[in-house]
Protein backbone atom coordinates (compact mmCIF):
# COMPACT_ATOMS: atom_id res chain seq x y z
CA UNK A 1 0.00 0.00 0.00
CA UNK A 2 2.75 2.43 0.96
CA UNK A 3 4.96 1.50 -2.02
CA UNK A 4 1.94 1.98 -4.25
CA UNK A 5 1.39 5.43 -2.79
CA UNK A 6 5.05 6.35 -3.25
CA UNK A 7 5.03 5.10 -6.84
CA UNK A 8 1.96 7.18 -7.61
CA UNK A 9 3.47 10.30 -6.06
CA UNK A 10 6.66 9.82 -8.08
CA UNK A 11 4.59 9.51 -11.24
CA UNK A 12 2.66 12.64 -10.26
CA UNK A 13 5.91 14.59 -10.00
CA UNK A 14 7.23 13.21 -13.33
CA UNK A 15 3.98 14.14 -15.09
CA UNK A 16 4.12 17.63 -13.59
CA UNK A 17 7.66 18.09 -14.93
CA UNK A 18 6.33 17.02 -18.35
CA UNK A 19 3.45 19.47 -18.02
CA UNK A 20 5.94 22.25 -17.25
CA UNK A 21 7.99 21.27 -20.30
CA UNK A 22 4.94 21.61 -22.59
CA UNK A 23 4.00 24.91 -20.93
CA UNK A 24 7.58 26.10 -21.39
CA UNK A 25 7.42 25.13 -25.06
CA UNK A 26 4.44 27.44 -25.70
CA UNK A 27 6.59 30.54 -25.31
CA UNK A 28 9.57 28.96 -27.10
CA UNK A 29 7.69 28.19 -30.32
CA UNK A 30 6.23 31.70 -30.48
CA UNK A 31 9.50 33.11 -31.81
CA UNK A 32 10.82 36.20 -30.06
CA UNK A 33 9.05 36.96 -26.76
CA UNK A 34 10.96 40.20 -26.30
CA UNK A 35 9.45 41.58 -29.50
CA UNK A 36 6.02 40.91 -27.97
CA UNK A 37 6.99 42.54 -24.68
CA UNK A 38 8.29 45.80 -26.16
CA UNK A 39 6.93 46.06 -29.71
CA UNK A 40 8.04 49.67 -30.22
CA UNK A 41 11.50 49.51 -28.63
CA UNK A 42 14.65 49.76 -30.77
CA UNK A 43 16.62 46.58 -31.38
CA UNK A 44 19.44 47.63 -29.02
CA UNK A 45 17.04 47.87 -26.06
CA UNK A 46 15.54 44.53 -26.96
CA UNK A 47 18.96 42.92 -27.01
CA UNK A 48 19.62 44.21 -23.50
CA UNK A 49 16.31 42.90 -22.22
CA UNK A 50 16.91 39.55 -23.93
CA UNK A 51 20.25 39.28 -22.15
CA UNK A 52 18.81 40.37 -18.78
CA UNK A 53 15.88 37.96 -18.96
CA UNK A 54 18.18 35.08 -19.86
CA UNK A 55 16.70 34.38 -23.28
CA UNK A 56 20.24 33.88 -24.61
CA UNK A 57 20.98 31.01 -22.21
CA UNK A 58 20.82 27.38 -23.39
CA UNK A 59 17.27 26.01 -23.48
CA UNK A 60 17.98 23.49 -20.72
CA UNK A 61 19.12 26.26 -18.39
CA UNK A 62 16.05 28.32 -19.25
CA UNK A 63 13.81 25.33 -18.57
CA UNK A 64 15.31 24.62 -15.16
CA UNK A 65 14.89 28.28 -14.26
CA UNK A 66 11.28 28.13 -15.53
CA UNK A 67 10.49 25.11 -13.33
CA UNK A 68 12.10 26.85 -10.35
CA UNK A 69 9.98 29.93 -10.99
CA UNK A 70 6.80 27.87 -11.33
CA UNK A 71 7.55 26.18 -8.02
CA UNK A 72 7.58 29.64 -6.46
CA UNK A 73 4.39 30.58 -8.30
CA UNK A 74 6.14 33.02 -10.59
CA UNK A 75 5.00 32.94 -14.22
CA UNK A 76 6.36 36.38 -15.01
CA UNK A 77 4.60 39.64 -15.72
CA UNK A 78 1.61 39.82 -18.02
CA UNK A 79 2.71 41.69 -21.17
CA UNK A 80 -0.63 43.45 -21.33
CA UNK A 81 -1.70 44.04 -17.71
CA UNK A 82 1.89 44.64 -16.48
CA UNK A 83 1.10 42.63 -13.36
CA UNK A 84 2.25 39.17 -12.19
CA UNK A 85 0.38 36.55 -14.23
CA UNK A 86 -0.47 33.95 -11.61
CA UNK A 87 -2.61 36.17 -9.30
CA UNK A 88 -4.56 37.35 -12.36
CA UNK A 89 -5.27 33.72 -13.23
CA UNK A 90 -6.10 32.67 -9.69
CA UNK A 91 -8.59 35.47 -9.09
CA UNK A 92 -10.61 34.15 -12.06
CA UNK A 93 -10.60 30.58 -10.77
CA UNK A 94 -13.68 30.69 -8.48
CA UNK A 95 -15.91 31.77 -11.37
CA UNK A 96 -14.76 28.93 -13.60
CA UNK A 97 -15.06 26.44 -10.75
CA UNK A 98 -18.60 27.64 -9.98
CA UNK A 99 -19.61 27.27 -13.63
CA UNK A 100 -18.05 23.81 -13.85
CA UNK A 101 -19.63 22.67 -10.59
CA UNK A 102 -23.08 23.90 -11.62
CA UNK A 103 -22.81 22.10 -14.95
CA UNK A 104 -21.49 18.96 -13.27
CA UNK A 105 -24.39 19.00 -10.81
CA UNK A 106 -26.93 19.41 -13.59
CA UNK A 107 -25.25 16.66 -15.60
CA UNK A 108 -25.13 14.17 -12.75
CA UNK A 109 -28.75 14.87 -11.88
CA UNK A 110 -29.72 14.01 -15.46
CA UNK A 111 -27.18 11.37 -16.40
CA UNK A 112 -27.51 9.12 -13.36
CA UNK A 113 -31.25 8.36 -13.51
CA UNK A 114 -31.44 8.35 -17.30
CA UNK A 115 -28.30 6.22 -17.68
CA UNK A 116 -29.43 3.69 -15.08
CA UNK A 117 -32.89 3.39 -16.58
CA UNK A 118 -31.35 3.07 -20.04
CA UNK A 119 -29.18 0.18 -18.90
CA UNK A 120 -31.94 -1.55 -16.95
CA UNK A 121 -34.40 -1.27 -19.84
CA UNK A 122 -31.84 -2.04 -22.49
CA UNK A 123 -33.09 -1.77 -26.10
CA UNK A 124 -36.38 -0.25 -24.98
CA UNK A 125 -37.77 2.82 -26.70
CA UNK A 126 -36.45 4.88 -23.78
CA UNK A 127 -32.95 3.47 -24.24
CA UNK A 128 -32.97 4.21 -27.96
CA UNK A 129 -34.18 7.75 -27.36
CA UNK A 130 -31.49 8.31 -24.72
CA UNK A 131 -28.82 6.93 -27.02
CA UNK A 132 -29.91 9.24 -29.79
CA UNK A 133 -29.81 12.24 -27.46
CA UNK A 134 -26.25 11.24 -26.52
CA UNK A 135 -25.31 11.19 -30.20
CA UNK A 136 -26.90 14.55 -30.76
CA UNK A 137 -25.24 16.05 -27.69
CA UNK A 138 -21.75 14.83 -28.59
CA UNK A 139 -22.15 16.14 -32.15
CA UNK A 140 -23.13 19.72 -31.24
CA UNK A 141 -20.39 22.33 -31.02
CA UNK A 142 -20.82 23.69 -27.50
CA UNK A 143 -20.39 27.33 -28.58
CA UNK A 144 -23.19 26.93 -31.12
CA UNK A 145 -25.48 25.35 -28.51
CA UNK A 146 -24.82 28.41 -26.37
CA UNK A 147 -25.71 30.80 -29.18
CA UNK A 148 -28.88 28.86 -29.97
CA UNK A 149 -29.92 29.03 -26.30
CA UNK A 150 -29.24 32.78 -26.33
CA UNK A 151 -31.39 33.06 -29.46
CA UNK A 152 -34.25 31.17 -27.83
CA UNK A 153 -34.24 32.40 -24.22
CA UNK A 154 -32.66 35.84 -24.47
CA UNK A 155 -33.65 37.11 -27.92
CA UNK A 156 -36.99 35.43 -28.61
CA UNK A 157 -38.49 34.78 -25.17
CA UNK A 158 -36.53 37.53 -23.36
CA UNK A 159 -36.58 35.64 -20.08
CA UNK A 160 -32.83 35.38 -19.44
CA UNK A 161 -29.90 37.78 -19.86
CA UNK A 162 -27.69 37.38 -22.95
CA UNK A 163 -24.41 37.41 -21.08
CA UNK A 164 -22.63 38.40 -17.89
CA UNK A 165 -22.25 36.92 -14.45
CA UNK A 166 -23.87 39.47 -12.16
CA UNK A 167 -27.14 37.81 -11.22
CA UNK A 168 -28.24 34.24 -10.62
CA UNK A 169 -30.35 34.43 -13.76
CA UNK A 170 -27.17 35.07 -15.74
CA UNK A 171 -25.68 31.80 -14.50
CA UNK A 172 -28.51 29.67 -15.91
CA UNK A 173 -27.67 29.74 -19.62
CA UNK A 174 -23.90 29.19 -19.31
CA UNK A 175 -24.36 26.36 -16.79
CA UNK A 176 -27.02 24.75 -18.95
CA UNK A 177 -24.88 25.11 -22.09
CA UNK A 178 -21.90 23.46 -20.45
CA UNK A 179 -24.23 20.75 -19.14
CA UNK A 180 -25.39 19.93 -22.69
CA UNK A 181 -21.72 19.23 -23.36
CA UNK A 182 -20.98 17.13 -20.27
CA UNK A 183 -24.26 15.24 -19.86
CA UNK A 184 -23.88 13.01 -22.95
CA UNK A 185 -20.33 12.09 -21.90
CA UNK A 186 -21.49 11.12 -18.40
CA UNK A 187 -24.68 9.44 -19.56
CA UNK A 188 -22.71 7.18 -21.85
CA UNK A 189 -20.37 6.15 -19.04
CA UNK A 190 -23.22 5.55 -16.57
CA UNK A 191 -25.05 3.38 -19.07
CA UNK A 192 -22.06 1.31 -20.13
CA UNK A 193 -20.73 0.77 -16.60
CA UNK A 194 -24.21 -0.27 -15.46
CA UNK A 195 -24.48 -2.69 -18.38
CA UNK A 196 -21.15 -4.23 -17.38
CA UNK A 197 -22.41 -5.25 -13.96
CA UNK A 198 -26.12 -5.68 -14.37
CA UNK A 199 -25.98 -9.19 -15.74
CA UNK A 200 -23.20 -10.47 -13.49
CA UNK A 201 -23.91 -13.50 -11.35
CA UNK A 202 -24.08 -11.76 -8.02
CA UNK A 203 -26.65 -9.29 -9.28
CA UNK A 204 -28.68 -12.19 -10.58
CA UNK A 205 -28.30 -13.93 -7.24
CA UNK A 206 -29.54 -10.85 -5.45
CA UNK A 207 -32.56 -10.80 -7.73
CA UNK A 208 -33.14 -14.49 -7.24
CA UNK A 209 -33.27 -14.17 -3.48
CA UNK A 210 -36.21 -11.87 -3.92
CA UNK A 211 -34.74 -8.48 -3.13
CA UNK A 212 -36.67 -5.63 -4.73
CA UNK A 213 -35.42 -4.51 -8.13
CA UNK A 214 -34.76 -1.00 -6.90
CA UNK A 215 -32.61 -2.26 -4.04
CA UNK A 216 -30.67 -4.56 -6.37
CA UNK A 217 -29.88 -1.71 -8.69
CA UNK A 218 -28.82 0.75 -6.02
CA UNK A 219 -27.10 -1.48 -3.53
CA UNK A 220 -25.51 -4.09 -5.75
CA UNK A 221 -25.17 -2.82 -9.28
CA UNK A 222 -24.58 0.92 -8.86
CA UNK A 223 -21.92 0.57 -6.16
CA UNK A 224 -19.86 -1.63 -8.43
CA UNK A 225 -20.52 0.43 -11.50
CA UNK A 226 -19.23 3.45 -9.58
CA UNK A 227 -15.59 2.44 -9.99
CA UNK A 228 -15.26 2.70 -13.77
CA UNK A 229 -17.60 5.67 -13.68
CA UNK A 230 -15.35 7.66 -11.37
CA UNK A 231 -12.24 6.75 -13.36
CA UNK A 232 -13.62 7.73 -16.73
CA UNK A 233 -15.23 10.84 -15.27
CA UNK A 234 -11.78 11.83 -13.99
CA UNK A 235 -10.25 11.31 -17.42
CA UNK A 236 -12.95 13.45 -19.00
CA UNK A 237 -12.41 16.33 -16.61
CA UNK A 238 -9.99 17.97 -19.03
CA UNK A 239 -12.65 17.88 -21.74
CA UNK A 240 -15.10 19.53 -19.37
CA UNK A 241 -12.64 22.35 -18.64
CA UNK A 242 -12.15 22.79 -22.40
CA UNK A 243 -15.93 23.12 -22.72
CA UNK A 244 -15.95 25.66 -19.90
CA UNK A 245 -13.39 27.81 -21.74
CA UNK A 246 -15.59 27.97 -24.84
CA UNK A 247 -18.77 28.53 -22.83
CA UNK A 248 -17.21 31.44 -20.95
CA UNK A 249 -16.27 33.06 -24.24
CA UNK A 250 -19.81 32.76 -25.63
CA UNK A 251 -21.47 34.27 -22.55
CA UNK A 252 -18.71 36.71 -21.57
CA UNK A 253 -18.37 34.99 -18.20
CA UNK A 254 -15.40 36.62 -16.42
CA UNK A 255 -13.64 33.31 -15.72
CA UNK A 256 -10.29 31.75 -16.37
CA UNK A 257 -11.26 30.59 -19.86
CA UNK A 258 -12.17 34.05 -21.03
CA UNK A 259 -8.98 35.47 -19.55
CA UNK A 260 -6.84 32.87 -21.30
CA UNK A 261 -8.65 33.16 -24.65
CA UNK A 262 -8.23 36.94 -24.46
CA UNK A 263 -4.55 36.52 -23.60
CA UNK A 264 -4.11 34.12 -26.52
CA UNK A 265 -5.54 36.70 -28.91
CA UNK A 266 -3.17 39.36 -27.52
CA UNK A 267 -0.22 36.91 -27.47
CA UNK A 268 0.13 37.64 -23.75
CA UNK A 269 2.10 34.45 -23.07
CA UNK A 270 2.75 34.68 -19.30
CA UNK A 271 -1.03 34.61 -18.74
CA UNK A 272 -1.46 31.81 -21.29
CA UNK A 273 1.29 29.78 -19.62
CA UNK A 274 -0.06 30.36 -16.11
CA UNK A 275 -3.60 29.49 -17.24
CA UNK A 276 -2.57 26.37 -19.13
CA UNK A 277 -0.41 25.19 -16.24
CA UNK A 278 -3.05 25.80 -13.58
CA UNK A 279 -5.75 23.98 -15.60
CA UNK A 280 -3.41 21.05 -16.29
CA UNK A 281 -2.48 20.96 -12.60
CA UNK A 282 -6.17 20.70 -11.71
CA UNK A 283 -6.65 17.82 -14.17
CA UNK A 284 -3.56 16.03 -12.81
CA UNK A 285 -4.66 16.43 -9.20
CA UNK A 286 -8.23 15.32 -9.97
CA UNK A 287 -6.90 12.19 -11.65
CA UNK A 288 -4.50 11.57 -8.77
CA UNK A 289 -7.43 11.81 -6.36
CA UNK A 290 -9.46 9.44 -8.55
CA UNK A 291 -6.53 7.02 -8.58
CA UNK A 292 -6.35 7.08 -4.81
CA UNK A 293 -10.11 6.72 -4.50
CA UNK A 294 -9.89 3.72 -6.78
CA UNK A 295 -7.27 2.12 -4.57
CA UNK A 296 -9.43 2.81 -1.56
CA UNK A 297 -12.66 1.50 -3.11
CA UNK A 298 -11.22 -1.58 -4.79
CA UNK A 299 -10.36 -4.20 -2.19
CA UNK A 300 -8.30 -6.19 -4.71
CA UNK A 301 -5.78 -3.40 -5.05
CA UNK A 302 -5.93 -2.36 -1.41
CA UNK A 303 -4.77 -5.73 -0.10
CA UNK A 304 -1.82 -5.98 -2.45
Amino acid sequence: MLTLLIRRVVRLVVVLVGVSLVTFAILQVSGDPVALMMPEAPEADRAVLRQNMGFNDPLAVQFVRFVGNIARGDFGQSFFHRKPALPLVLERMPTTMLLTALAMGLSLGLALPVGILSAVRRNSLFDHAATFVVFLGTSMPVFWTGIMLILLFAVQLRVLPVSGWESWAALILPAFTLATFSTPLLLRIVRSSMLEVINLDYVRTARAKGVSEWFVICRHALINAALPLVTVAGLQFGLLLGGAIVTETVFAVPGLGRLVVGAIRQLDFPIVQAGVFVLALIVVLVNFAVDMLYVYLNPQIRVR
Binding site: V15, W144, L235
Partner: protein, 302 residues
Protein backbone atom coordinates in the same frame (compact mmCIF):
# COMPACT_ATOMS: atom_id res chain seq x y z
CA UNK B 1 -20.12 5.26 -28.93
CA UNK B 2 -17.66 3.50 -26.76
CA UNK B 3 -15.40 5.41 -24.50
CA UNK B 4 -13.58 2.58 -22.81
CA UNK B 5 -14.42 -0.55 -24.74
CA UNK B 6 -13.17 -0.59 -28.27
CA UNK B 7 -13.30 -3.45 -30.69
CA UNK B 8 -11.00 -6.27 -29.59
CA UNK B 9 -8.72 -7.88 -32.15
CA UNK B 10 -10.21 -10.59 -34.27
CA UNK B 11 -8.92 -13.84 -32.87
CA UNK B 12 -7.60 -15.12 -36.18
CA UNK B 13 -4.73 -13.76 -38.24
CA UNK B 14 -5.77 -11.72 -41.24
CA UNK B 15 -6.68 -13.77 -44.29
CA UNK B 16 -8.74 -16.55 -42.79
CA UNK B 17 -12.34 -16.62 -44.05
CA UNK B 18 -12.05 -13.05 -45.14
CA UNK B 19 -14.89 -12.99 -47.66
CA UNK B 20 -17.59 -14.31 -45.32
CA UNK B 21 -16.29 -12.05 -42.60
CA UNK B 22 -16.58 -9.06 -44.86
CA UNK B 23 -20.06 -9.76 -46.16
CA UNK B 24 -21.31 -10.32 -42.63
CA UNK B 25 -19.80 -7.01 -41.58
CA UNK B 26 -21.51 -5.29 -44.45
CA UNK B 27 -24.88 -6.90 -43.74
CA UNK B 28 -24.69 -5.87 -40.09
CA UNK B 29 -23.88 -2.33 -41.12
CA UNK B 30 -26.61 -2.12 -43.74
CA UNK B 31 -29.31 -3.30 -41.35
CA UNK B 32 -29.13 -0.09 -39.35
CA UNK B 33 -31.21 2.82 -40.72
CA UNK B 34 -29.35 5.41 -38.63
CA UNK B 35 -26.03 4.32 -40.09
CA UNK B 36 -27.46 4.43 -43.62
CA UNK B 37 -28.76 7.95 -43.01
CA UNK B 38 -25.35 8.90 -41.62
CA UNK B 39 -23.59 7.49 -44.67
CA UNK B 40 -25.93 9.40 -47.00
CA UNK B 41 -25.34 12.71 -45.22
CA UNK B 42 -21.61 12.08 -45.23
CA UNK B 43 -21.74 11.31 -48.93
CA UNK B 44 -23.44 14.67 -49.54
CA UNK B 45 -20.95 16.59 -47.41
CA UNK B 46 -18.00 15.01 -49.18
CA UNK B 47 -19.66 15.77 -52.52
CA UNK B 48 -20.18 19.39 -51.48
CA UNK B 49 -16.53 19.70 -50.46
CA UNK B 50 -15.15 18.16 -53.64
CA UNK B 51 -17.41 19.97 -56.11
CA UNK B 52 -17.81 23.22 -54.13
CA UNK B 53 -16.87 25.66 -56.93
CA UNK B 54 -19.32 24.02 -59.34
CA UNK B 55 -22.35 23.51 -57.12
CA UNK B 56 -22.21 26.63 -54.94
CA UNK B 57 -24.79 29.05 -56.36
CA UNK B 58 -22.62 32.14 -55.71
CA UNK B 59 -19.02 33.15 -55.15
CA UNK B 60 -18.50 32.64 -51.39
CA UNK B 61 -16.61 35.94 -51.03
CA UNK B 62 -18.86 38.12 -53.21
CA UNK B 63 -20.32 40.95 -51.19
CA UNK B 64 -23.42 42.93 -51.99
CA UNK B 65 -24.45 45.68 -49.61
CA UNK B 66 -27.98 45.98 -51.03
CA UNK B 67 -28.60 42.33 -50.32
CA UNK B 68 -27.19 42.17 -46.81
CA UNK B 69 -29.25 40.38 -44.15
CA UNK B 70 -31.57 38.72 -46.69
CA UNK B 71 -33.46 36.11 -44.64
CA UNK B 72 -33.81 32.48 -45.79
CA UNK B 73 -36.13 31.80 -48.71
CA UNK B 74 -39.10 30.67 -46.62
CA UNK B 75 -39.14 33.89 -44.58
CA UNK B 76 -41.29 36.84 -45.71
CA UNK B 77 -38.48 38.88 -47.28
CA UNK B 78 -36.60 35.83 -48.53
CA UNK B 79 -35.27 35.59 -52.09
CA UNK B 80 -34.99 32.42 -54.15
CA UNK B 81 -31.48 33.45 -55.19
CA UNK B 82 -30.30 33.04 -51.58
CA UNK B 83 -31.89 29.91 -50.17
CA UNK B 84 -30.31 30.22 -46.72
CA UNK B 85 -30.11 34.02 -46.82
CA UNK B 86 -27.12 36.35 -46.79
CA UNK B 87 -24.80 37.64 -44.06
CA UNK B 88 -23.89 41.11 -42.81
CA UNK B 89 -22.04 42.01 -46.01
CA UNK B 90 -24.44 40.25 -48.36
CA UNK B 91 -22.49 37.05 -48.98
CA UNK B 92 -24.56 33.96 -49.79
CA UNK B 93 -24.68 31.69 -46.72
CA UNK B 94 -25.36 28.44 -48.57
CA UNK B 95 -22.35 28.99 -50.82
CA UNK B 96 -20.14 29.73 -47.84
CA UNK B 97 -21.34 26.59 -46.06
CA UNK B 98 -20.61 24.47 -49.15
CA UNK B 99 -17.10 25.91 -49.39
CA UNK B 100 -16.62 25.61 -45.62
CA UNK B 101 -17.05 21.84 -45.90
CA UNK B 102 -13.66 21.76 -47.60
CA UNK B 103 -11.75 23.15 -44.62
CA UNK B 104 -13.66 21.08 -42.09
CA UNK B 105 -13.15 17.78 -43.89
CA UNK B 106 -9.57 18.50 -44.88
CA UNK B 107 -8.51 19.51 -41.39
CA UNK B 108 -10.45 16.65 -39.82
CA UNK B 109 -8.98 13.96 -42.04
CA UNK B 110 -5.43 15.30 -42.18
CA UNK B 111 -5.24 15.87 -38.41
CA UNK B 112 -6.40 12.32 -37.78
CA UNK B 113 -3.82 11.01 -40.27
CA UNK B 114 -1.13 12.76 -38.21
CA UNK B 115 -2.53 11.43 -34.92
CA UNK B 116 -2.84 7.94 -36.32
CA UNK B 117 0.72 7.81 -37.65
CA UNK B 118 2.25 9.10 -34.43
CA UNK B 119 -0.08 7.21 -32.11
CA UNK B 120 0.08 3.82 -33.81
CA UNK B 121 3.87 3.94 -34.13
CA UNK B 122 4.34 4.83 -30.47
CA UNK B 123 1.78 2.21 -29.43
CA UNK B 124 3.56 -0.53 -31.35
CA UNK B 125 6.94 0.52 -29.95
CA UNK B 126 5.56 0.74 -26.45
CA UNK B 127 3.86 -2.65 -26.54
CA UNK B 128 6.67 -4.47 -28.28
CA UNK B 129 9.79 -3.08 -26.68
CA UNK B 130 8.22 -2.62 -23.22
CA UNK B 131 10.67 -1.72 -20.45
CA UNK B 132 12.13 1.76 -20.45
CA UNK B 133 10.72 2.77 -23.86
CA UNK B 134 7.26 1.83 -22.64
CA UNK B 135 7.68 3.86 -19.44
CA UNK B 136 8.80 6.95 -21.34
CA UNK B 137 6.02 6.72 -23.93
CA UNK B 138 3.33 6.15 -21.33
CA UNK B 139 4.59 9.13 -19.34
CA UNK B 140 4.27 11.27 -22.46
CA UNK B 141 0.71 9.93 -22.81
CA UNK B 142 -0.04 10.88 -19.20
CA UNK B 143 1.34 14.37 -19.78
CA UNK B 144 -0.76 14.81 -22.93
CA UNK B 145 -3.87 13.66 -21.09
CA UNK B 146 -3.30 16.29 -18.42
CA UNK B 147 -4.14 19.20 -20.69
CA UNK B 148 -7.61 20.16 -21.80
CA UNK B 149 -7.00 19.28 -25.49
CA UNK B 150 -8.70 22.38 -26.84
CA UNK B 151 -6.66 24.70 -24.62
CA UNK B 152 -3.36 23.17 -25.67
CA UNK B 153 -4.31 23.45 -29.34
CA UNK B 154 -5.37 27.08 -28.82
CA UNK B 155 -2.10 28.05 -27.16
CA UNK B 156 0.10 26.37 -29.75
CA UNK B 157 -1.82 27.52 -32.82
CA UNK B 158 -1.64 31.09 -31.51
CA UNK B 159 2.07 30.79 -30.69
CA UNK B 160 3.00 29.26 -34.04
CA UNK B 161 0.79 31.63 -36.02
CA UNK B 162 -2.59 30.54 -37.40
CA UNK B 163 -2.67 28.63 -40.70
CA UNK B 164 -4.37 25.50 -41.99
CA UNK B 165 -1.12 23.52 -41.70
CA UNK B 166 -0.55 24.67 -38.13
CA UNK B 167 -4.07 23.63 -37.18
CA UNK B 168 -3.63 20.20 -38.76
CA UNK B 169 -0.29 19.57 -37.07
CA UNK B 170 -1.36 20.87 -33.68
CA UNK B 171 -4.68 19.00 -33.64
CA UNK B 172 -2.83 15.91 -34.86
CA UNK B 173 -0.26 16.17 -32.09
CA UNK B 174 -2.87 16.67 -29.37
CA UNK B 175 -5.05 13.71 -30.37
CA UNK B 176 -2.66 10.79 -30.81
CA UNK B 177 -2.61 9.34 -27.32
CA UNK B 178 -5.80 7.36 -27.76
CA UNK B 179 -4.21 5.34 -30.58
CA UNK B 180 -1.14 4.66 -28.49
CA UNK B 181 -3.15 3.36 -25.57
CA UNK B 182 -5.37 1.10 -27.68
CA UNK B 183 -2.61 -0.26 -29.94
CA UNK B 184 -0.33 -0.87 -26.96
CA UNK B 185 -3.08 -2.76 -25.13
CA UNK B 186 -3.72 -4.89 -28.20
CA UNK B 187 -0.05 -5.65 -28.72
CA UNK B 188 0.23 -6.73 -25.09
CA UNK B 189 -2.82 -8.98 -25.49
CA UNK B 190 -1.63 -10.37 -28.83
CA UNK B 191 1.84 -11.22 -27.55
CA UNK B 192 0.36 -14.06 -25.56
CA UNK B 193 -1.65 -15.51 -28.47
CA UNK B 194 -0.70 -18.90 -29.92
CA UNK B 195 -0.26 -17.68 -33.48
CA UNK B 196 2.31 -15.16 -32.31
CA UNK B 197 4.14 -17.91 -30.49
CA UNK B 198 4.06 -19.96 -33.68
CA UNK B 199 5.41 -17.09 -35.76
CA UNK B 200 8.21 -16.54 -33.28
CA UNK B 201 9.04 -20.25 -33.28
CA UNK B 202 9.28 -20.16 -37.06
CA UNK B 203 11.91 -17.49 -36.74
CA UNK B 204 9.96 -14.40 -37.78
CA UNK B 205 11.79 -11.16 -37.06
CA UNK B 206 10.27 -8.56 -34.75
CA UNK B 207 9.60 -6.21 -37.64
CA UNK B 208 7.85 -8.96 -39.56
CA UNK B 209 5.78 -9.93 -36.52
CA UNK B 210 4.66 -6.35 -36.08
CA UNK B 211 3.86 -5.67 -39.71
CA UNK B 212 2.44 -9.05 -40.70
CA UNK B 213 0.72 -10.25 -37.53
CA UNK B 214 0.10 -7.41 -35.09
CA UNK B 215 -0.80 -4.45 -37.27
CA UNK B 216 -3.51 -6.23 -39.31
CA UNK B 217 -5.13 -7.33 -36.08
CA UNK B 218 -5.43 -3.77 -34.85
CA UNK B 219 -6.98 -2.48 -38.09
CA UNK B 220 -10.61 -2.71 -37.05
CA UNK B 221 -10.03 -0.72 -33.86
CA UNK B 222 -7.95 1.83 -35.72
CA UNK B 223 -10.60 2.34 -38.41
CA UNK B 224 -13.37 2.79 -35.85
CA UNK B 225 -11.28 5.11 -33.70
CA UNK B 226 -10.24 7.19 -36.68
CA UNK B 227 -13.83 7.72 -37.78
CA UNK B 228 -14.79 9.01 -34.36
CA UNK B 229 -11.58 11.06 -34.13
CA UNK B 230 -12.36 12.83 -37.43
CA UNK B 231 -15.64 13.95 -35.85
CA UNK B 232 -13.75 15.27 -32.82
CA UNK B 233 -11.17 17.04 -34.98
CA UNK B 234 -13.91 18.80 -36.96
CA UNK B 235 -15.47 20.03 -33.72
CA UNK B 236 -12.07 21.20 -32.48
CA UNK B 237 -11.25 23.04 -35.67
CA UNK B 238 -14.62 24.79 -35.49
CA UNK B 239 -13.94 25.76 -31.88
CA UNK B 240 -10.50 27.14 -32.78
CA UNK B 241 -11.98 29.20 -35.61
CA UNK B 242 -14.75 30.38 -33.31
CA UNK B 243 -12.24 31.47 -30.67
CA UNK B 244 -10.35 33.49 -33.24
CA UNK B 245 -7.25 31.39 -33.91
CA UNK B 246 -8.49 29.85 -37.12
CA UNK B 247 -6.96 29.30 -40.52
CA UNK B 248 -5.75 32.89 -40.77
CA UNK B 249 -7.25 33.27 -44.24
CA UNK B 250 -10.48 34.71 -45.61
CA UNK B 251 -11.66 31.36 -46.96
CA UNK B 252 -14.93 30.55 -45.16
CA UNK B 253 -14.97 28.01 -42.34
CA UNK B 254 -18.02 26.96 -40.35
CA UNK B 255 -16.56 27.99 -37.00
CA UNK B 256 -15.61 31.42 -38.29
CA UNK B 257 -19.10 31.93 -39.78
CA UNK B 258 -20.66 31.17 -36.40
CA UNK B 259 -18.20 33.48 -34.68
CA UNK B 260 -19.05 36.39 -37.02
CA UNK B 261 -22.75 35.58 -36.95
CA UNK B 262 -22.94 35.64 -33.15
CA UNK B 263 -22.77 39.43 -33.09
CA UNK B 264 -25.86 39.64 -35.30
CA UNK B 265 -27.89 36.92 -33.63
CA UNK B 266 -30.57 39.34 -32.44
CA UNK B 267 -31.18 40.79 -35.92
CA UNK B 268 -30.39 37.84 -38.19
CA UNK B 269 -30.81 34.46 -36.51
CA UNK B 270 -29.83 32.57 -39.68
CA UNK B 271 -26.24 33.78 -39.60
CA UNK B 272 -24.94 31.51 -36.83
CA UNK B 273 -27.71 28.91 -37.09
CA UNK B 274 -27.02 27.29 -40.48
CA UNK B 275 -23.23 26.82 -40.24
CA UNK B 276 -23.84 25.25 -36.82
CA UNK B 277 -26.40 22.89 -38.32
CA UNK B 278 -23.81 21.96 -40.97
CA UNK B 279 -21.32 21.04 -38.24
CA UNK B 280 -23.96 19.19 -36.26
CA UNK B 281 -25.14 17.12 -39.23
CA UNK B 282 -21.63 16.29 -40.43
CA UNK B 283 -20.34 15.28 -37.02
CA UNK B 284 -23.53 13.38 -36.21
CA UNK B 285 -23.29 11.49 -39.50
CA UNK B 286 -19.67 10.52 -38.85
CA UNK B 287 -20.49 9.44 -35.30
CA UNK B 288 -23.43 7.29 -36.45
CA UNK B 289 -21.35 5.61 -39.15
CA UNK B 290 -18.39 5.11 -36.78
CA UNK B 291 -20.54 3.65 -34.04
CA UNK B 292 -22.23 1.21 -36.38
CA UNK B 293 -18.87 0.32 -37.89
CA UNK B 294 -17.66 -0.62 -34.45
CA UNK B 295 -20.62 -2.88 -33.80
CA UNK B 296 -20.24 -4.46 -37.22
CA UNK B 297 -16.49 -5.06 -36.88
CA UNK B 298 -16.66 -6.27 -33.30
CA UNK B 299 -17.37 -10.01 -33.23
CA UNK B 300 -18.46 -9.81 -29.59
CA UNK B 301 -21.43 -7.53 -30.20
CA UNK B 302 -24.50 -9.46 -31.38
Amino acid sequence: MAIGTLAPPLGVPAGAERTTERSRTWRKFARNPAAIAGALILFMVVGAAVFAPWIAPHEPARQSLIRRFTPPVWAEAGKTAHILGTDQVGRDILSRIIHGARISLMVGIAAVAVSMTVGVTLGLLSGFLQGRVDTVIMTVVDVTLSFPPLLLALAFVAALGPSVTTIIVVLGLTGWERYTRVVRAEVLALREKDFMEAARAMGASSARMVLRHVLPNTFSSIIVMSTLQVAQAILQEAALSFLGVGTGSAYPTWGQMISLGRDFVSVAWWLPTFPGLAILLTVLAINLVGDRLRDALDPRVG
